[in-house]
């Protein structure tokens, strides 16, 4: 297919076939008030040279040369060059989604590899071909739990990413289901188990928790899973920092794992596109949303890949589909797949250890708001100065500080959420520590 505008000659030819004299004749049946009676207000065309100048100028506005300690769902990790090299190959880039799936064996192979790696990472038995992002994977996981349990009440921890909870609330708004929240322990920052227990009942479809949670705290999933399972509810484990899975035990206590892969070679890009995941136990496979790639044999007995269990999906099952997502985030998920292949199991563990070590170095000597174990993010109270003032002072030293938490948690209005990754340099971390001790 050519993506070029048609020439005048081609337009005339097409109009002649339709028996029309001009393009205006084609729109003659439209009411006059729906037509624009002036040209679109667009700037005139520019030369290639002018366009290059324009974009160079815009690129120069980027905050180049700044160190960042901002996490909160989007993380500054190193992107191996190989990720872009593979993902920008035409075979992947231009045919990013397989409309005639079985012809695209290469694409299906990478998706199958992706699913396999996600299962290894999460300790689950099946993973789908990816979701739009972590935030949209959460309501999909909740809907899945509701289909499995036949219940319509969702309990979500306040320590789950606030914007993920907003997406969940948006999904629930026009559905029949309800979302309630339970708190976090004021001292440790981990789940308030008593609050969870008091709100759980036989109408609860699922309990949604995040680990490491929004405050960076590593949750103990075992107790939350036991409480949920006692009343027949499922446990959904959410993650925003995929690197943590290189070190932490796979969340096998969970029934569904929903998460975000931005940490795996996906650029922050103003917040997207990212890639999400949903993984679960095999017994729930028919309730998983989205597409699944399976391994099969072709007519000649050769190893081949295919889309499988498609009868769950919208293009076959219409309004009775398990979900209205019937695509996947193939190209972005491919970057994560290459990332996982580049690092491997041992490399990912080493990467996670570096994150842990640097974050704990950064936290050394400063006051922490919560005392539970943390991975690469933690909350600090700002004394004598507002979090915004601390950030402003850091910005002068070419350092992007942490996230002021007041916007999401009024009770933490004096707090900053800080993040260190393998990219954090000692000199910058020392400057941040100084700023917080001042």
């Amino acid at each position: 297919m050519r993506y070029l505008p048609k020439s005048d000659a081609e337009r005339r030819e097409m109009l002649a076939v339709c028996g029309l004299g001009s393009l205006e004749d084609l729109y003659a049946h439209l009411p006059a008030e729906t037509k624009l009676d002036r040209p679109l207000a667009l700037p005139p065309g520019q030369s290639e040279y002018e366009i290059l100048d324009y974009f160079k100028a815009r690129a120069a506005e980027n905050a180049a040369g700044y160190a960042s300690f901002l996490g909160a769902g989007v993380y500054a990790h190193y992107r191996p060059v190989l990720c872009d090299v593979v993902a920008s190959r035409g075979e992947f880039l231009t045919s990013y989604t397989p409309y005639q799936a079985e012809i695209a064996q290469g694409t299906l192979t990478t998706i199958f590899e992706f699913q396999t790696m996600i299962c290894q990472l999460t300790g689950m038995e099946v993973a789908n071909a990816s979701m739009y992002d972590g935030s949209t994977a959460v309501p999909e996981a909740a809907l899945m739990a509701m289909r499995i349990t036949g219940r319509e009440r969702v309990l979500v921890a306040r320590s789950v990413h606030p914007e993920y909870r907003e997406v969940l609330a948006t999904s629930a708004r026009n559905g029949r289901w309800q979302v309630a929240t339970f708190g976090y322990d004021a001292a440790s920052g981990s789940l308030d188990m008593a609050d969870l227990e008091s709100q759980l009942n036989r109408e609860t479809a699922c309990v949604i928790v995040q680990s490491p949670n929004f405050f960076g705290v590593v949750e103990q999933l075992k107790d939350a899973a036991a409480l949920a399972h006692q009343v027949g509810a499922l446990l959904i484990m959410v993650f925003t920092e995929a690197v943590s899975l290189g070190l932490l035990a796979p969340p096998r206590e969970a029934d569904i794992v929903a998460g975000e892969l931005q940490s795996f070679a996906i650029t922050p890009s103003y917040g997207g596109p990212f890639a999400g995941i949903i993984a679960t136990r095999e017994k729930y496979i028919r309730q998983i949303p989205g597409r699944l790639v399976g391994l099969t044999k072709d007519a000649a007995g050769n190893r081949a890949f295919c889309l499988t269990l498609s009868t769950r999906e919208q293009h076959i099952r219409r309004e009775k589909a398990t979900s209205n997502i019937c695509t996947n985030q193939a190209l972005i998920a491919l970057m994560a797949t290459v990332f996982m292949s580049v690092y491997g199991k041992a490399g990912l563990r080493e990467l996670a250890e570096q994150n842990l070590a640097k974050a704990h170095y950064l936290a050394g000597g400063v006051e922490r708001r919560f005392d539970a174990p943390f991975f690469n993010e933690f909350v600090v109270p700002c004394r004598g100065r507002s979090p915004e003032a601390v950030n402003a002072a850091l910005l002068e030293k070419k350092i992007i500080g942490g996230l002021p938490l007041g916007r999401f948690y009024p009770e933490l209005a004096n707090c900053l959420l800080l993040c260190a990754t393998e990219m954090s340099k000692r000199a910058d971390m020392d400057l941040v520590r100084e700023a917080l001790q001042a």
Binding site: G150, R286, T311, I316, R317, K320
Partner: protein
């Protein structure tokens, strides 16, 4: 294929065989042959209340997923467990071993609207 005389048949291709106040419900031979290889059967849990003409569950073949409509109103009292692990039995013996659910009838009314075997055979044109 034998279409038992004592079964009643629906236009949506289910059958029901009533003994006392319990109706055994299944899918017709014609339906399974149209669907092709059946790979999954989704049934309601025992205790579920169902209404005649409304969705009872679904049956999934390699080609498509089709809803199963309840021929009668009542409460599901038993689900055929063998279909969970061996859905292909629905292709092999749809009028016998591979029944779907047993429903305790809410009343006797529904059956009169259903077809007898000769009528159903004429309906499917065989």
């Amino acid at each position: 294929m034998n279409y038992p005389e004592n079964y009643r048949y629906t236009k949506e291709h289910e059958w029901v065989c009533v003994e006392g106040d319990v109706g055994t419900v299944g899918l017709t031979f014609h339906a399974q042959s149209e669907l092709g290889d059946i790979v999954y059967v989704d049934m309601p849990a025992p205790g579920t209340a169902v209404k005649a003409g409304e969705t009872l569950g679904s049956v999934e073949s390699v080609k498509a997923v089709s809803d199963i409509y309840s021929p009668v109103s009542g409460e599901v009292v038993e689900v055929n467990e063998i279909l969970k692990d061996a859905p292909e039995k629905l292709n092999a013996d749809p009028h016998g071993e591979a029944w779907l659910v047993r429903i305790r009838l809410a009343g006797p009314g529904d059956l009169e609207d259903l077809m007898g075997a000769p009528e159903y055979l004429a309906y499917v044109g065989s």
